[in-house]
Subunit: 747 residues, 2 copies
């Protein structure tokens, strides 16, 4: 009786002990709550046998012990020899047993892959985690823990996993003053002031989280770069972070400010063909590598949005990139040169916004359509970059909109390795308050077929099957270096991402960077099970919410191919009426081109002809208004308000339908979430509930503001069956949010 | 056997469950780890009997249950009737039993006081928590939990506790963009963008922490105020916070920008004697109270450091304050009018800095010494303020320096209630990286005797015993309103204050605001036991560190009465050489006045005569260089380098001694802390260890930079027995920290 009471007390303590504040992300190792499964797991695992003693293997072992002891709620023995019910780990270098195992299996694991396998050896049932490298073991450890976290069977394991892309990188747009450009989760996690002396535990947990999903690089600083990070005091700070991340297989990168030789080097020029400048960068790289021997390289934003670059000196992007490449090459560093270019020196006119108007003093190429500029500037440079240069291309040709077609550059640079850049932080996707699961957006782009004239073995000369994913992972062209980048959505809020579901986008990015063949649904399910609960009702319901969330947002923000109609500067909320921004292509009216005749940007041959940047097969899908996928309709065509859509509705009525159905979907998401209350902790349930209520208000705001504004052109009524907007257009136009986050020092 | 194993497993879970990340502050309810005591506690408490059902009593009950179940690790029954081993709580309104108990005991508890008492009634042993108000019960609940947290006996309880000061307020210098002026713990915890829809759990835990130490007011916004917080969208956000805080007895205050009638009201003037302006503020107050019926009032910084104020219109501080007072009076709000004034319109000259040089166009009073200005401006206004105006005075006459004598205003305003303002955030006390326990600083000021001609019953006409504390708590003058303010050191870092020991200053401020008779040691011990461990070795060792920490910092920063010799702008690090700041009294050289003859600011009759602002008895303590307490020596006197100190050393050698002993003390603190590793969690142990290592470096920096600079005047050697500075003065002068936190958007 007394013992039973004590039992109860102990259970009680375990239950009340920890708040579900989201800090642990998907690395929750709570006891498996399915009793049958728990017994099964315990019958298979009661110890580990870990060989090797590198820093990486030490953290892998610690993670393994911590994870197993949490999940199985039993002490896990640390064995010196192989025993029954043991997890046996190692590499050919650390273990003869593993060496034999790998060589017998003839596994092709590369540098980072791993195998997880159940095996009976000498009457002992064991689970093997083997890899060629220590970090491969670490990845295998996280994968095994994920199996337990997500309640998978471990009866017969035979998993071989190899990353498809080499460099899987998070880009932080974090400033040295701890503000985060387009950050919606508090301050930067990098506390530069306290580095190198103070190592925040967050740095370690950041590395754990990234390693658990295979992310192996981090760009610490904003692409709008500050040269100071390249000075000695900051390199010491960067080195301290690199030391934390190294055991987790994560390399550190920095953004290089093109004009740094002038700003911190005292030179009179930053001309990339100037020998003194080249030498300065060589010496700077030597210095960096003296602090960080495995430094990854530079990310560079040049001649874009006012950033300095080679065009300031009449040089090309290739000239600029190659200078950095030469300085980094002796140390095996790479250059990630961004193709997101639209130089502030062009299109200064705000009046003649239909036609990009070049500043006559600017030597750079001015496109008649901002969607064309990256291609216009980079296509001619294909093949002119050094081998350690990768050109970093945003998924779409404009700027991380809720929906864009893939960037035409992905089908156009056969001689240059390309990085795809996704944005995890939701600059244009509702920012801090919107539940939007981005994997479907990532996949839509990765799976898109560029029909580039690439040399797939089975389709020589035809191009079909030349998906963006195959361009990026190098399988089309056999590039020596491949990479993928995600702009981080991480800040110092307790749960890292502000919105609890922001974590899913970090997770999904990492998982797809490792294996872009994974489905959005599969990743959502994994994440939900690890992060919240394995309860079937919860997983099914919440997965539905996640899977519909991106289309829902597109519907109430920018349906049918609309884009870039958000508020100026902060990019918060709708503002399709704005026509007075600092340059033509910052104005929503530049993009939607609504007039009394219709709406949409004609990018066919009768308009900007941006469509000509795609392969013929791609053009054919979109160039005819009658056959164009309606999700891209207004991206490529200016369409009459009366145009009959596939639904039978007029364009105007279809627009109304989309906007209203977007709001309805948010309400459905709210309803569904409310029904799942009993399955998870109160803290996160309430957080999401409050955020969904805000999202519903914002969805109504988007819908009403956009339809009331477009109505001033269409002169058509919102169908009477819909709820009426509760404010007039003037009300929406008058709203001001000077302290919206993510811009100009606002947090 | 099986049961024993399960036992073990459960214990194991409980042990690994939660990280000690500091988020829970001193409200840790971990199981009592002294088995004897645990059994004693359990034998006295197994249930509660809670009467009443207000929101305040609901949170008190939840806290009580949560706390007891955590500490005692048993389920606590929630009884309807009084039972043996029950904690019986209530007020005269909620319980006839409590009504009888209070009336029999004839307790004088006021609005917020409480009594905790053991009692045997009808053969039942119970613990009573009784108060006149619901919030009194809440305070009693936290006090009882504190007894258990700190391992006190609860055998015979007879505690009566009443706060000595009515309004115990935290001032947040938080901006609407989530930066925090002089904040060193990340971003503001107020996420204005997500309010009112999203209630961060932090808001609730903030309220719990404050209520647990008796803080009952919070000023949400920076004294350098933004009028926008007074607009409708922000008042809705403020109201949401007020709703969270109300159950915890915490009122919300805002800072009022003096020019708001012009900036958001469209008026042409903000003249406090203009009827339209007065009316605007009356209406604004009516509006505020329509959102927040228990709004506390305004804090106003006017005609100080560029802030607008009544002097812009030729009016006095009293004219300004009274306008707000009249607008707030119908709602029972108060005005906290800051006396920290040094108008930017005076002392513009940087050359003639020995004499404050008034701008001829400025109507305000220009003092020849910044230390005099608050007195000069406010003393003449004594008695001219409305009854609901309190004048808020910083502890010292300059600005939150490591050591200042108390402000002379505390002895000079017999007809005006004064608030004392302390700074918990360590703007001048080493900021993010310094372990400094501020209670001794607070107490030094509170216990100082103003010898004001106040009417203490037993010392009529003599003034002795007129301590600052008695001025503030109103006992000298019987003011109807009393208040104390602390500038918060709170941000959104996981542990709230960045430095784990920053929490102690928040705690100490609250405890002293409740009862300024508590000793610094007593508060340190309470805090340590609740926050870290009850282990005697740990408590004794760490208490020593805390108790010496402030004097240590004074020694290596500003010994012997030196002050204001830190870096310009950021206030980070030493910069005694600065002589080119924007105005004379921003320059360190203005304050230390080192020259070839000596060092120090002559504030006696031969100098600025600031000493004349003190009562005669106080002046006598300080005006003679021979008898002046050496800790204030250079505050009041310009002293020859060869002056013989009480130690027998020359002033120069004494200065060297102090600076070197300060660094030695930091090293002693490091050594002591390292010896306490085994007593606490690794996470916080390592945090403090890393921070102490940074502090040691910074202490050496302060010592070397200051002595090398002062040496350029003294021309005397640093005694050979000391370690030599490892850099020269030029090195220290060249150091730049453009991203030091707490200033201009840096976090």
């Amino acid at each position: 009786m007394k013992k039973t009471l004590l039992f109860f007390h102990l259970l009680f303590i375990a239950a009340v002990a920890c708040a579900e504040d989201g800090y642990t992300l998907w690395l929750r190792y709570n006891k498996v709550d399915d009793q049958v499964l728990l017994q099964q797991y315990r019958s298979k695992i009661n110890s580990i046998q870990f060989t090797g003693n590198s820093l990486t293997l030490a953290v892998a072992k610690k993670e393994m012990l911590n994870g197993l002891e949490g999940l199985l709620a039993i002490p896990i023995a640390d064995k010196k020899t192989i025993s029954d019910r043991s997890i046996v780990t190692g590499t050919p270098l650390t273990s003869t047993f593993i060496r034999s195992f790998l060589s017998e299996g003839n596994f092709d694991l590369g540098k980072e892959g791993f195998v997880i396998s159940t095996k009976k050896t000498d009457q002992k049932n064991i689970i093997i985690i083997a890899a060629n490298s220590d970090v491969g073991v670490l990845y295998g450890v996280f994968q095994l823990l994920r199996l337990l976290q997500t309640h998978q069977s471990i009866e017969k394991l035979s998993i071989v996993s190899i990353p498809k892309i080499q460099n899987r990188v998070l880009d932080h747009w974090d400033n040295l003053n701890r503000t985060v450009e387009r950050g919606y989760a508090g301050a930067s996690i990098w506390n530069w002031h306290l580095l190198p002396g103070y190592i925040d535990k967050r740095y370690i947990d950041y590395a754990r989280a990234n390693a658990s999903i295979g992310i192996n690089g981090t760009v610490l600083t904003n692409v709008n770069a500050n040269a100071m990070v390249l000075t000695k005091p900051y390199l010491e700070k960067v080195a301290a972070l690199a030391n934390v991340f190294r055991p987790y297989g994560i390399k550190v990168y920095l953004t290089a400010r093109f004009s740094a030789p002038m700003e911190i080097g005292g030179l009179k020029t930053a001309d990339p063909l100037d020998a003194e400048v080249q030498n300065w960068w060589k010496q700077k790289c030597d210095e960096i590598y003296s602090y960080i021997p495995d430094f990854g390289g530079f990310v560079i934003k040049a001649n874009s949005e006012g950033q300095p670059g080679p065009q300031n000196y009449g040089r090309t992007h290739a000239d600029g990139a190659n200078m950095f490449a030469d300085a980094l090459a002796p140390h095996h560093g790479i250059v990630m040169w961004r193709a997101f270019v639209y130089d502030a020196r062009v299109q200064k006119s705000t009046e003649n916004f239909g036609e990009g108007k070049a500043d006559p003093s600017a030597p750079s190429i001015a496109s008649s359509d901002r969607a064309k500029q990256a291609y216009d500037e980079f296509k001619p440079l294909d093949g002119k970059f050094r081998k350690n240069v990768l050109v970093q291309v945003k998924n779409g040709p404009v700027d991380f909109q809720p929906r864009e077609p893939f960037s035409p550059l992905f089908g156009a640079m056969q001689h240059t390795p390309l990085i795809i850049e996704f944005q995890l932080t939701q600059e244009y996707l509702g920012q801090a308050t919107t539940l939007v699961y981005e994997a479907p957006l990532f996949k839509e782009c990765l799976d898109a077929d560029t029909y580039s004239k690439a040399r797939l073995n089975d389709t020589v000369g035809q191009g079909k099957g030349s998906t963006v994913a195959k361009v990026i992972d190098g399988s089309l062209e056999n590039y020596p270096a491949t990479a993928i980048a995600g702009v981080a959505n991480i800040g110092n809020e307790r749960n890292w991402t502000g919105h609890p579901f922001g974590q899913a986008n970090w997770y999904a990015f990492g998982r797809l960077a490792w294996d872009h063949a994974l489905s959005s649904e599969q990743i959502a399910e994994e994440w939900l099970r690890q992060t919240f609960s394995n309860d079937q009702h919860f997983v099914i319901g919440t997965k539905k919410i996640m899977m519909m969330s991106r289309e829902t947002m597109v519907n109430y923000m920018t349906p049918l191919g609309l884009h870039h109609i958000m508020g100026t500067g902060f990019h918060y909320g709708p503002a399709p009426w704005v026509d007075n921004a600092g340059r033509a292509d910052w104005n929503p009216v530049y993009y939607h081109r609504a007039d009394s005749a219709g709406i949409g940007f004609d990018r066919t041959v009768t308009g900007s002809n941006a469509i000509s940047q795609y392969a013929e097969e791609v053009r054919k899908q979109w160039e005819d208004v009658k056959t164009c996928d309606e999700k891209y309709l207004l991206w490529f065509h200016h369409v009459s308000w009366n145009y009959k859509m596939k639904s039978g509705r007029t364009l105007w009525n279809e627009l109304c339908y989309k906007y209203y159905s977007g709001v309805d979907s948010v309400r459905w998401m709210q309803h569904t979430w409310n029904g799942l209350k009993k399955y998870i902790d109160e803290e996160r349930f309430e957080q999401v509930k409050m955020l969904l209520a805000i999202q519903e208000k914002e969805a109504v705001w988007w819908r009403n503001a956009c339809l009331l504004y477009f109505q001033t052109w269409s002169k058509m009524p919102i169908p009477a069956s819909y709820e009426k907007p509760d404010h007039d257009l003037q009300y929406y136009k008058a709203l001001k949010f000077p302290y919206a986050p993510g811009n100009g020092g606002n947090l």
